[in-house]
């Protein structure tokens, strides 16, 4: 029985055999890896090629649908809708600022005493619907003018009535000038 420490052969193991084995394994792994990469890239390229074609077809069909949708738009119809909208909205705005000055003339007729008459009246309506009154007139007496002033004050729809240039003439009549503003409710149009 040989002692266990004695080598069975004196022939040394070749160190290049292990390296060759390692090289072979590496080559195999590298080869496998590289072919796998090539396969993956090739499949990816094919996939992208077909995906690109699918997308292009999809885009073409969308473009065709868009062209049909665009052709379905009738511009005169659109314009008629826009004009109708403008007509309705502008008409509402204009009607809201529509004034009825006849109400003022009816009121003056009832408020002013018969002893007072206007020789001129000037009504102006500005862009915010404010109505201003300027006028001149003759009253039979100072009391008549005072009655007219009181009537305006009592009624309240002819506002800020200021009588000025009050002059007693030779025949004892009183000439005057009047400036006032008109309550917007008085001249508001209603059906």
């Amino acid at each position: 029985m040989l002692p266990p420490t004695i080598p069975t052969s004196f022939v040394p193991h070749s160190s290049s055999a292990a390296a060759r084995r390692f090289g072979t394994n590496f080559n195999n792994a590298f080869g496998f890896f590289s072919y796998a990469v090539l396969l993956i890239i090739f499949l990816l390229a094919i996939g992208i090629f077909f995906y690109d074609r699918v997308l292009e077809n999809n885009q073409a069909s969308k473009n065709a649908a868009l062209a049909r949708a665009e052709a379905a738009i009738d511009l005169p119809t659109v314009e008629s809708f826009v004009r109708l909208r403008n007509r309705l909205s502008s008409g509402t705005t204009l009607l809201g600022s529509h004034v009825a000055l006849s109400n003022f003339f009816s009121l003056v007729e009832t408020l002013v005493p018969t002893t007072v008459r206007f020789t001129s009246l000037h009504l102006t309506v500005d862009d915010v619907k404010a109505v201003k009154l300027e006028g001149t007139g003759i009253a039979k007496s100072f009391n008549a003018l005072a009655a007219a002033s009181a009537a305006f004050a009592t009624d309240g729809r002819i506002k800020e009535a200021i009588f000025s240039n009050i002059v007693v003439t030779k025949d004892n009549t009183v000439s005057f000038a009047l400036s006032a503003t008109i309550d917007q409710k008085l001249v508001a149009f209603s059906l």
């Binding site: 590289s34 990469v37 690109d52 119809t77 007509r87 204009l94 009607l95 600022s97 001129s120």
Partner: protein, 183 residues
């Protein structure tokens, strides 16, 4: 040595395919197409919405009485047509007992932007112009004329009235009447 050549070539081929075809195709052609398709989708959604709204609007307009639509067009016409209006005013004055004279158009230069001042601002769909006129008649005739203007089928606003009295009961009137139209 030879056993590494083919794998190396395949790696190079892979890299070549990737950088020459895969990457450029994905980053340029495909992404651009995807963006275009997304835009087209949005546009198609808007087109569908438009079609639906157009149908709704058509139904709503058809629900309005055509007579009322006609009255609306008379109320705010498509053109100035001040000559036709002068004829109408003359007829109204005759019915009211007023005698009209000196009718003229005053171009509204003050493009006020306040509400109600619908003049000739560019963004404003409504145009306006003032018509000045002189008249002679009684006070009752003036009131009847004013009521006729206020209730006119075409919208007219009296912007300015000057009344000059007389001892005869017949007065002189000067008026500015604003008329409107849809541009």
């Amino acid at each position: 040595m030879n056993s590494r050549i083919l794998p190396s070539l395949s790696i190079l081929l892979s890299l070549g395919i990737f950088f020459v075809y895969v990457n450029p195709t994905w980053n340029n052609s495909i992404l651009a197409t995807q963006v275009k398709i997304a835009e087209a989708d949005q546009t198609l959604v808007a087109a569908t919405k438009y079609t639906t709204q157009q149908k709704e609007l058509t139904d709503a307009r058809n629900a309005i009485d055509p007579t009322n639509l006609g009255r609306l067009s008379t109320f705010l016409p498509d053109s100035v047509n001040n000559v036709g209006l002068v004829l109408d005013l003359n007829a109204l004055a005759a019915r009211s007992g007023l005698s009209l004279s000196n009718i003229d158009v005053v171009v509204n230069n003050a493009n006020a932007s306040a509400q109600g001042a619908l003049s000739v601002a560019n963004a404003n769909p409504v145009g306006s112009v003032n018509l000045s006129l002189s008249a002679i008649g009684t006070y009752e005739a003036l009131k009847a004329f004013l009521v006729g203007i206020e209730k006119s089928a075409r919208l007219l606003d009296v912007r300015d009235v000057v009344v000059r009295g007389s001892d005869t009961g017949v007065y002189n009137y000067q008026m500015k009447i604003r008329l409107y139209w849809l541009r």
